[in-house]
Symmetry: D2
Subunit: 260 residues, 4 copies
Amino acid sequence: MSLPVNYGEAVLLLDEERKKSFLFVLREGGEIGTHKGRLLHKDIVGKKEGSLVLSSTGARFRIFRPSIVDKMMKVQRKTQIVYPKDASWLILALDIRPGMRIIEIGTGSGAFTMLLAQLVGKEGRIYTFDRREDFLENARQNIRRAGLEDRVVFSLLNAGDLFPVNNVDAVFLDLPEPWLAISPSWDALLPGRPLATIVPTAEQLKRTVESLIENGFLVMDVVEILERRILVRKKEGVRPFEKMVGFTGYLISSRKIIEE
Amino acid sequence: MSLPVNYGEAVLLLDEERKKSFLFVLREGGEIGTHKGRLLHKDIVGKKEGSLVLSSTGARFRIFRPSIVDKMMKVQRKTQIVYPKDASWLILALDIRPGMRIIEIGTGSGAFTMLLAQLVGKEGRIYTFDRREDFLENARQNIRRAGLEDRVVFSLLNAGDLFPVNNVDAVFLDLPEPWLAISPSWDALLPGRPLATIVPTAEQLKRTVESLIENGFLVMDVVEILERRILVRKKEGVRPFEKMVGFTGYLISSRKIIEE
Amino acid sequence: MSLPVNYGEAVLLLDEERKKSFLFVLREGGEIGTHKGRLLHKDIVGKKEGSLVLSSTGARFRIFRPSIVDKMMKVQRKTQIVYPKDASWLILALDIRPGMRIIEIGTGSGAFTMLLAQLVGKEGRIYTFDRREDFLENARQNIRRAGLEDRVVFSLLNAGDLFPVNNVDAVFLDLPEPWLAISPSWDALLPGRPLATIVPTAEQLKRTVESLIENGFLVMDVVEILERRILVRKKEGVRPFEKMVGFTGYLISSRKIIEE
Amino acid sequence: MSLPVNYGEAVLLLDEERKKSFLFVLREGGEIGTHKGRLLHKDIVGKKEGSLVLSSTGARFRIFRPSIVDKMMKVQRKTQIVYPKDASWLILALDIRPGMRIIEIGTGSGAFTMLLAQLVGKEGRIYTFDRREDFLENARQNIRRAGLEDRVVFSLLNAGDLFPVNNVDAVFLDLPEPWLAISPSWDALLPGRPLATIVPTAEQLKRTVESLIENGFLVMDVVEILERRILVRKKEGVRPFEKMVGFTGYLISSRKIIEE
């Protein structure tokens, strides 16, 4: 039901105080260095999630199996990733359910791919495409480490090419010129199903929205998400953090319409 | 693969222009009244998703099967619902996967219950509890209409009572005094797994965070989510909408820790 | 030092509870109708600011001399006004001091004119221009009611025309096509002094910034201001209001540069 | 009308590209070091505002007389300052006019004092108090450098003490326990006139608001101001900056009421 962590598994080591964390696979003879001393993998193996472990300098750490957000934030990055605040909005915009078949154009580092893969489950499929072989290879490794490679299909594709799969339940576009992929997206989608995308500037937003309208989509929502982290301390009281992420991108959701 | 909509099914009728929508079940002899004329159900049956239908006054509407967000926003409300902007953040905080078993305290109108139920899939289970029988009954009907009743278990429970299920993968609390349910949540959760909640004021936030710390949880994140809707029009150009939702609640995520 | 309010003066009548307010001039025989009953002007005359007065239905109101924000919000509106949240940022961007001479293009309803007029004092001058005589006439009346007409000069001007004054300390532009007024602004401004403006969309923002750069200005700052109102109640606790103004405009500040 | 800058004057040297700036007084034989080379004061003297000057490495800089915001941001800091985004809101909340007499409790580094002093003009007076002599001395120097010392009176005062001036037009409080100064503020203010303050946490906000209500003030507004800086570039297009200031404080405005 809740097995202790074991060799071969990925674990998250979390500094109780500063929330700084380390994600790694437990190996025999392994050792992990932190900002507050070192720990031997063998001292972690056999512990249950949530347990306390002490580093060589006596600092307190907690052991967890990584959540999907932990995995997303710890991917080996070759590109900017879709941040959790945006990824979560997109999940609802894409109307994800277990078992679905989804196309992603722009694999990047595979962080969002990973979230899609977790949510469609073993019977679902994520068809993810990138124009760069090195990005695909890096993403493949990230997704393998996350234990989700059984449901993800990676392929090379240039922006503007037809997609080699169709009748899919949702399409997500994350590429510099999303308008190039809108017509192929229409071909690949089931009627009425969603296409969502993220763009970095007002100009790209306008061009993408216009392209969606011209290519048989109904634009449902355009938003940006601001996440304010709040500090809650006994002494200092409650207040928002002094620094925040100001902007990551505009998010667009749409649905395929048909003329018949 | 993509069957036309049929009698007995829920459909979403969407005003192409104003994005105003109507959610209803197709019935023989049925009729739906809108702000722009009426439509007969028999003229909708047999259409594919995304198709155009015209009202009695010639207004253009599109037919869709409702997305999970459509369903959430259209529940029969007896309480305030968890809004999509917050619900999506919570989904990631709760680290949801198909097949999971999840406890929700505070069923309310069942909008968030519905999202959880969709995401855990047929093999998952949502155990949802409310202290009011009338809320449970209303939520049960909302979830039946959404076609998700096979995976949701509804029960009466007073705040502070022990939960009748345990070894669950996640707990979500949505009640006026979440601190009353924190100790029972610890008992019910698997080690290391998440508890998330939403609270409306700074005072409740502080008290909830303190209660989590005292009862064996590590607080991971406290945030509020601002969703800005953006207007994209050919003529008017790109700019945020003039009105926005200013606040719905503070969101807290935490994980169970153990001392052993 | 603090004289009681008297006939001929403008007063603000404020509903203590709901913060609803009424701005009017005290007249002999006058009467003011509110959402909570009526009051006779003679029962207000002779009171000091901050005093309690009761309406015909016994509702509690407070008497104040109107602040500059009260006056701005209560102008007779023929156009959208510059809101206080933006007006206050612009005051700093325009580096206002008593005694300054300032040009405003786009008088509108005169709300911002009023603030400028108050801040430059009796020895300052606001030269405000509009292309519509009816707007100018309405603004003139608004500013007369505010008691600030001695320092404001109103004139007709079409966008693109040269300004009939020069060597001014600051220029504020509030018109649909601010780029038309940028070259005349350069001619009218003292070297190094600020030009600020407000625009409603991303496209106009881009065009205005490009025009500023091409016409001898250094763009200092581009911002938007979000004002969140916070509810503080003994019972409900502290939290932001549920509704907020989502957007009013992009604000630009710049300074004139010279090549010599 | 627009004299060239001269020895003895404060000037702002602004890196045209990066908006990095340097504020200093021109001295015979003086030299200023920047991130992009050095400049001799004698090469700046005699230039008009907005002129181009080149550093020893050929980097382009512009010369300006500092605006009030330049001066505020460049004070010698011994404390956190009131940021321009908040200062500008407070100016309207305090209903400032030339000639007014204003009390500030909590001089700090004198940044906001400087803005008040500029806006009340030569005939106005700012009575600013701090409990620490070293803060007062530092602020005094900051305000002398800004050329505004003729209208500011600095004095020592402990929180809770009666104020040695009265019949003032406005009071601004910036101290850790603003509630200690609320009753003395009431005594010092003219009837109906404003008190404004800034506090860092929800708890302090609540306590301050309650103290205002108990001590004869009507709370008019409680807000926080978010300033989003927008990037406008030909190539990258329009979008908000990736980082922003998330929070500085809650702002409160109120007016003195009387019972008579």
